[in-house]
Structure formats: structure tokens, C-alpha cells
């Protein structure tokens, strides 16, 4: 079967800094892939390259068979079908929660107002925040804001959702609600790529875990083997540091 996401030999440099040094991996439909790695290892850059919020220097990316890295590729058509959840939520603070979700539905997906409202309430129900539809993002807690951001990504019925450290900006007591929401979505069969440091989430939800360091994928395993039997010495060191922190 054709993978939803296929990344081949991706390179990206910022000036002298070689952030991605030939990254290749694929994600099948319905899979949840977790990417782990030390900060500065290129995880965020990798996710941004996939929807070309950052221009890769070299390499190819296919999303559902469409070569995104083709210069002739219409970026809007690609992004229309890929959800992106940011570390800092990036909700639009001047719009009510429901308008945050409706913006793309109305302007990009050409839904009518009523359809968009219905769809927005639908996804808000999914993340358990239908009662906050008419609040402003600034009136919500960090965890609620991130759940709204997830709802916003879900509303466009994406083929693929990318999560860039979705819980790293949250207070510890708010992390759980976001992870539970993400788990629900994964169980529903959405295709997800999640950059995170949350070991429990990776263990319980991921189908595969990738370890990336210095711009290269060093290990790619099912979660059980990844955590109990890590091979690469850098992964072992990384996991040790991560577990010490907890």
C-alpha cells in the first residue's frame, strides 16, 4: 500500500549548521509514529519541511502520492490536507475558539457558514470543549488551548496530522488532558507524526518510534524494543537522561 508520508534523503542547513543530514522514513495510513531526540536534533525542522513551512535544501517528500518537493506542487493543496499542531498552540488570539476553527473551513475548504459551524462544534465535542466555543483563546488554560488547536487541525479532515512537541509548553498538570485527546485521535485511526518527549505516550500509543540525533535517524523500532532494548549508544544515553529527569 502507498504510504501517506514518504520522506527520502532530506537535507536542510541554516548557514553553516547542517540540521538535517539525509533523513528518510515513511508512515502508513492509520499509523502513529513518534519522533524522539535531543533538542536541536532537527525534529521541528523535519516537521516544518514536510509542509514546507521551511524549504528543504535537498531530498523528496511525498504526501499521499503527491510530491510536495516538486517546485510545481501547489502548496495550498498540500497544506489543506495536513494538520499541524504547534508547541506554542498558535491559536489566533483575536478570534473566538469557534472562529479559529472555522477560518480555514470557510476560506480554504469553501464550506458555508452553517456547515463550518456544525463541523467546528463537531470537532470541539471530540476534544471535550464544546462549551468553550465562544470563548477567546486567552480565556482558556494552556491545555484547553492546545486541545482547541488539535480540534482546529482535525476539522479539515487531514490525511496526516503533525504534532510538534504539543505538551512541551504546558504546565505538568495540563499535559495529561492533551495526551489523552491525542490518544483518542490515534485510536480513531488518524495518521499522526508526533515529536514528543513523553515516553508513556510513545509506549502506549505509537506504532513505531524514531530516534533522531544530529540530523539523522539513528534508530527506528516498535516502542517496546525501542525503550527496553535500545541499540545505538546515543539513544541509550538519551533515554538515560530522559528517565533521570522524571
Amino acid at each position: 500500500m502507498q504510504p501517506i508520508l514518504l520522506v527520502k534523503d532530506l537535507h536542510k542547513s541554516y548557514g553553516q549548521l547542517h540540521v538535517l543530514k539525509g533523513v528518510s522514513f515513511e508512515v502508513s495510513k492509520g499509523e502513529t509514529v513518534v519522533i524522539m531526540g535531543p533538542s536541536g536534533s532537527g525534529k521541528s525542522t523535519l516537521l516544518r519541511c514536510i509542509v514546507r513551512l521551511v524549504e528543504p535544501d535537498k531530498g523528496d517528500i511525498w504526501i499521499d502520492g503527491v510530491r510536495v518537493t516538486d517546485p510545481k506542487c501547489n502548496l495550498i493543496d498540500v497544506r489543506k490536507h495536513v494538520g499541524f499542531v504547534f508547541q506554542q498552540f498558535n491559536l489566533f488570539p483575536h478570534m473566538k475558539v469557534i472562529d479559529n476553527i472555522k477560518l480555514a473551513l470557510v476560506k480554504i475548504h469553501k464550506m458555508s457558514e452553517e456547515q463550518a459551524t456544525e463541523k467546528a462544534m463537531d470537532v470541539l465535542r471530540k476534544v471535550g470543549l464544546e462549551d468553550k466555543a465562544y470563548a477567546y483563546p486567552g480565556e482558556l488554560s494552556g491545555g484547553q488551548q492546545q486541545r482547541v488547536a488539535i480540534a482546529r487541525a482535525l476539522a479539515i479532515e487531514p490525511k496526516l496530522i503533525l504534532f510538534d512537541e504539543p505538551t512541551s509548553a504546558l504546565d505538568p498538570e495540563l499535559i495529561g488532558e492533551v495526551l489523552i485527546t491525542m490518544e483518542h485521535i490515534a485510536r480513531e485511526g488518524k495518521t499522526m507524526v508526533v515529536v514528543t518527549h513523553e515516553i508513556d505516550f510513545a509506549r502506549e500509543v505509537a506504532d513505531r518510534v524514531l530516534f533522531i540525533d544530529h540530523g539523522q535517524i539513528l534508530e527506528e523500532k516498535d516502542p517496546e524494543t525501542f525503550f527496553t532494548n535500545p541499540e545505538h549508544p546515543r539513544l541509550r544515553a538519551f533515554l538515560r537522561r530522559l528517565l533521570e529527569r522524571v
Binding site: 495550498i76 499541524f84 504547534f86 498558535n90 483575536h94 480555514a104
Partner: protein
Amino acid sequence: MVLEPVIGFIEWIISAIEFMWPRFPWLLYGARITLYVATIAFFLGTGIGVFLGILRVSGIKVLEKIATAYIEVIRGTPLVVQILIVYFGIPIVTGIRFDPIMAGILTMGLNSGAYQAEIVRSGIKGIPTGQLEAAESLGLTYWQSMRYVIIPQAMRIVIPAFVNEYATILKDTSLLIIIGVPELTRQGQYIAAWSFRYFEVYITVALIYFILVLIVSRVARLLEKKLMIPGLGVTGARL
């Protein structure tokens, strides 16, 4: 008597009021012209400012250069000289003659546009990059992102700066005295010139400017409150 100077002062005040009272309508007429010129010039400047401000951050080098050049020329020359060029210079070259009020509005609008462009630019720059990323990740184009996400936030953040600019224009319209616009200062000068009561007249003129600016800043505070959104302070502070 200790009271003598006090009584003298009170008498002087009364005579000043007695003198100013019948002439007050002339000053009010001037104040109306001042408000009229300042307001139209301000909104003309806002139009130019938003346009140039967006050009400044468009990422298109030629457009950025043009906008920057305009802003630098305007900010690098005195307003009085600009007024003289538009009123006396332009008609000679083009044959188009403006009446003083029209020339005043035009000059002040063009001038304010440069300053407002910088305000708009700083507002846009003040929006976190994540906002543009989020908008573009949803499939919005750069211009759609600007229109629906960046500009509405930027404009809220810079309301205080805009109000400041309006107050500046309001006071700077007094420079239009040199081309004979019958604004507040010119009206005062007219009264003072034949009565020689410079002090009373110009104090009254100053008082009227002061009250106008005071009203503007109060109205602005109401506007800020009305446009306030939780988590998006007009000062740009985030919760």
C-alpha cells in the same frame, strides 16, 4: 494689604474673560477647521500607512525599497517645507492649484502616512512568527494570513501609537498658519494682531488644543476597552 495682588489678579482674569468671550466663536471656528483637517489627514495617512507598512514587510525587495525611500524622504524633511512645496511649488510645475485647506490635508496626510507606515510595520513585526506559520499551515496564502490573522492583531496592538499620531497631527495643523488655513492658531493670531492681547489669546488657544488632545486620549481609551480581547492586550502583552 496682602490681598491687593490677589484682587488685582482676579480683576485681570475677569477682564481677560470679558475680552475673550465675544471672540470665542472665532476660535471655535478655527478649532473646527483644525479638527476637520487633522481628521481627514489622519485617515488619509492611515490608508497610506497600512499600504506602505505592508509593502515594508512584503518580502518583495523592490516594493520594500520604494516604501523605505518614501518614508525616509518624508521623515528627513521638515513638515513646514513640505507644506510650502505642496502649496506653492506643485502648482508651478503641474498647474494644479489646491486651496489652502486642501493643500494642508494633502500634505499632512502624505506626511503622516510615512509615520503610520512605521507604526503598522512595528505592529506586524510584533506578532509572533508562530501566527503566520499557523495560518499558512492551514492552507492560507501569505496575503490571506495577513488579512485575517496578522493585520487585525497588529492594528489592535498599535492603537496607542495611532492615537499618539492623531494628537501629533492635531497640534501640527498649527503649522498650516503659513499658508493661511483659518485653523485655530491662525484665528488666534488674527485676534491678537489687532488687539495686542497676545497673552490672553494664545493662552486660550493653547487651552483649546489641550482640551482637544485630552478628549482624543479619553476617546481612545474607550476604544481600547471596546476592542480589548482577553489575552490580546493592546500593549501586546499575552496572558
